[in-house]
Subunit: 283 residues, 2 copies
DNA sequence: CAGTGGTCTAGACCACCAA
DNA sequence: TGGTGGTCTAGACCACTGC
């Protein structure tokens, strides 16, 4: 296997296939395959990207569950009939995307929202005077105000990739830090994947909501987009947060996505920013 | 040079130095040296991190200017007496940090704020109905309201790593999009590095302010931290932005850093979020 | 001690760009 | 056509973890 470029064997590229010095490579069982079945000829896709896609597929199909170890680089290399270095580069990218977590000497693990370290991976609100060591002032107290089934409005449907009128679950909850109500959240979930979710279940679970989604509904949030605005609350919102209706609040509209950029949650948060701030690092 | 680990030669590590099969490596001219001269024994630092540090040092000292090409990987490898792969990994990280930009077939370039593509690298405000193709609705109109020399308050001094009373430059400007005043910014700069900056010079320059800082003051902003809050404007701010004093606005407090995490700018922005929103991607 | 990820090297070939 | 970054491989050795 010296100086033999696997790329040409595995890709349906513009470049014509070259004769194979070792034809078994072309006949190998379960070789990498890319998604672009018929139309669209992508200009070029390196091998490690294809391997990345295959690993992603396994993650998506639940072959390895959140928190579990995935096979070693060496094993994956054998499975996909590529070198360890190629698998490494694929895993590097998946780790950079926070889909996998490498731990030297132990293995590579499927990322989860239930990890000890970063309790709320998507929450950027921080206390102004960060006294505590880690995240904030300990875990928040959570009150689920309501959770009910409804029909998607045009807006919710658009955000979740549904049709208006499709069934969705809507929940509202209040988060307190050190007893002070600070975040009021409304969220909408597609009813299908979250069948059986109730206010009681939301209240019962201790830990991040996204961790519960993983454990109980097999839905993993992988990334999110947020739109921030300064707004004034309505009377109900003001009452729940314990502020006047003239208090400016930070509105955070989030769409969270699973694999394949499939939107799975719309969330609208109202953050009090008199004692906290939303922190963002730019580079 | 087979199977010879350079690490041991270049590091003052806890591990004892091992006999060198090829002593010339230890005598090589101008080898990598790390910053931790005396005290502090860092547990471990791989070679490519040291190379990264050396490249960073060259960037910092202006050996290569923004927009210029740096030497090829092969040249750098010869210069630092390491393999090309090691240089590659160092450059990979610097590119991930947006300090360098790789362009296949052309070379590796020093990143600049003056690039065509992403006009405002640190500006996250976007129009709600993003019609335009690239960033927003074309370049903003900018009015420099004022720019004067003053003494740093305790707060400004803390943010910029100065002492209270040290001279700073303070400027205020207003940005309009499609004629609508949308952003009001106050900014503070240390007087030393920005000696000679005037309102007139700020107005004259076309393009991102950070690009001017690079070109005219040799100060490159590398990363920034932002703290966001919802606030109400005072009378002056409201007037400049053309809103009432009851209009909630997004307050964005930014500290921008050059190399070595040295803070070089404090900026307070007030963003109107009735027609725009602050966008943030989480992953 | 064996197994995992992490580092480093060396060499081959490919894709892209400019002259 | 030559030079640059990009990909892929192969093999050696190191650091860390857990049995």
């Amino acid at each position: 296997m010296i100086g033999h470029n696997f790329q040409q064997d595995r890709l349906s590229m513009a470049t014509a296939a070259r004769p194979l010095p070792q034809p078994d490579a072309a006949l190998a069982a379960g070789p990498p395959q890319t998604a672009w079945a018929a139309g669209q000829t992508p200009a070029f896709s390196p091998l490690y990207q294809q391997i990345k896609g295959l690993i992603l597929q396994s993650l998506q199909q639940g072959e390895w569950k959140p928190g579990e170890v995935i096979p070693s680089e060496f094993d994956l290399a054998a499975r996909y009939k590529v070198s360890q270095g190629t698998v490494r580069k694929a895993i590097d990218e998946l780790a950079a995307d926070n889909l996998l977590v490498r731990r030297q000497g132990r293995g590579t693990f499927v990322a989860t929202h239930a990890e000890q370290q970063v309790r709320y991976r998507f929450l950027r609100l921080q206390p102004d005077h960060g006294s505590g060591d880690s995240d904030g002032e300990g875990p928040a107290e959570r009150d689920v105000v309501e959770c009910r089934r409804q029909r998607a409005s045009a807006e919710v449907a658009r955000a979740l990739g549904l049709r208006a009128g499709d069934p969705v679950l809507q929940a509202r909850r209040l988060l307190r830090f050190a007893g002070v109500p600070t975040i009021l959240e409304d969220l909408w979930l597609p009813a299908g994947p979250f069948k059986g979710l109730t206010a009681e279940r939301l209240s019962r679970y201790h830990g991040p909501m996204y961790a519960m989604f993983e454990a109980e509904f097999n839905v993993r949030m992988v990334r999110a987009d947020e739109k921030l605005r300064a707004v004034l609350p309505d009377e109900t919102q003001a009452r729940l947060l314990g502020v006047t209706a003239a208090t400016p609040l930070l509105s955070v509209e989030r769409i969270a996505y699973t694999y394949n950029d499939a939107p799975m949650e719309l969330r609208r948060g109202l953050y009090r920013t008199d004692t906290h701030h939303y922190r963002n690092q730019l580079n």
